[in-house]
Amino acid sequence: MTWSDIDAVVIGKAPDFFEGVMMPELFLADALGATGKPMFRVHTAGSVGGSTAIVASQLIQAGLHERVLTVAFEKQSESEAMWALSLPIPFTPPLHAGAGGYFAPHIRSYIRRSKAPDHVGMLVALKDRQNGIKNPYAHLHEHDISFDSIKESMMLWDPIRYAETCPSSDGACALVLGSEKVADDAMAEGRQPAWIQGTAMRSEPTLSAERDTVLPLGGALCAADVYKQAGITNPRKDVDAVEMYVPFSWFEPMWLENLGFAEPGEGWKMTEAGATAMDGDLPVNMSGGVLCTNPIGASGMLRFGEIAMQVRGTAGEHQVDGVRRGVGHAYGGGSQFFAMWVVGSEKP
């Protein structure tokens, strides 16, 4: 495949003020091979990597293009995300302390509601960091990580410890999405495609009094929609592996419940029992996930791309055997933007 095979480019990243470069897609057009081609930018905060891939897939689904390049990136070494997410709001006390400060109360609410023991968050961090060691593209390769080193790490935003927090990463992800014909041709040449069996996005207002910040309705409806498209009736049984957006360890059990893999208040039991480990019945974040690599704008697309690699059987050392169908998930903003896709090894 060469540049000339690409019909259009869809790009996504977190808000421009992170790096301080306005509309960077315009500067990047040449480097992305987009000169003279349709180019489109997607904005949905932290979920943007997922939304961007979905927008690209829809351009093909609509019959506009055969092959679309979709790219997402962030360069946190040239940005100040903690500052950017703590901008003083006029007439309001300057209490905001980044994403951790925003999400810590949600996590505390989850712990209270589910009565989950304190060690669950640390178990998630340990699992994801150990998985990340197997992924050559992960930002963190913490060979010496242990339960005790996580436990002893500094409490940054109580109840979130340093070692339960995602890093600030530079990174990018690119996918080429193709039409049914493109995928059939790949099959004929012996290259396994990841068939997109469903895509869904949902959003909800951040400051609505009716909103449950722990188990957001938008997230659950997004999952219900994408499963319906893919013919999934029992998510725990019908899905072989998941790459979900877990920037702080406790979001694994929270999203397990929000996405229908566990009953409300029960998600942490799956984590504790090892169900989400590489050898569990529902491996989660085999790549090491956001906890190992967080180039914010790319993080959602990395989830989508990693699960595609799993169903293609090309995930290398962090490949799980026999993944026929997997879920990629991204969320963003104040837990108010959601994007998901289901990919499978079999043509729908």
Partner: protein, 204 residues
């Protein structure tokens, strides 16, 4: 061939510069808008005045002029209490570029009596590790001479001595036991959501 460049001896052992911080500054006028202005005028009289769309709908504090559930403006003003309940909180131990707070500090989501949305504010006059969900707190205002049209005119909240509210819920939390999650393996659907305009739908 380009000329060979070598550092003078005095610079040879100096650590390389890998990044340079170049702060940018942008000064601007911020107009509060009508809804916030009405709220902030109340603050100058040491009153916390929420807004709602209809006599039955949710009370928003601080108001932003619209009820996102109804998609309607919030013309009705309602004074809410200056006491409330901590629905959740975070003890912040991390410094970052631009932060002005002394560490550690506890920021809490406080549901004022009579309001339907928690505000984020500072908790003081109690050791940070004794703050808890359900704790009852009251507003502590600046001296009268220092009151300005900003929520910062409330210095912080402190325990008001009442017993904890063990049943405190975050607004919308009931979604977590039926709507925003899967119960008995049943997927949530749009039909489960109550339509606030018509009152139709939703769980019994």
């Amino acid at each position: 061939m380009p000329p060979e460049i070598s550092l003078p001896a005095s610079l040879q052992d100096v650590e390389q510069v890998r990044s340079v911080r170049t702060p940018a500054r942008l000064d601007y006028e911020f107009t509060a808008g009508e809804a916030s202005s009405r709220f902030l005028k109340g603050i100058t009289q040491k009153k916390i005045i929420g807004q709602r769309a209809t006599p039955e709908s949710r009370v928003y504090v601080p108001p932003r002029g619209a009820d996102p559930e109804l998609g309607a403006t919030t013309p009705i003003e309602v004074e809410v209490a200056q006491v409330g309940t901590v629905t959740s909180f975070c003890m912040v131990n991390v410094a970052f570029y631009g932060s002005v707070m002394e560490l550690p500090y506890t920021s809490a989501l406080i549901l004022l009596d009579g309001a339907d949305l928690s505000i984020m504010h500072l908790i003081q006059e109690i050791p940070a590790d004794e703050v808890r969900i359900g704790m009852r707190v009251e507003a502590v205002w600046r001296d009268d001479a220092d009151i300005e049209p900003t929520l910062e005119s409330i210095k912080w909240f402190r325990p008001n001595g009442e017993p904890d509210d063990p049943n405190v819920r975050i607004p919308g939390e009931d979604h977590g036991t039926g709507l925003g999650s899967w119960v008995g393996g049943v997927a949530p659907t749009e039909a489960l959501i109550r339509n606030p305009r018509t009152g139709e739908g939703g769980q019994a």
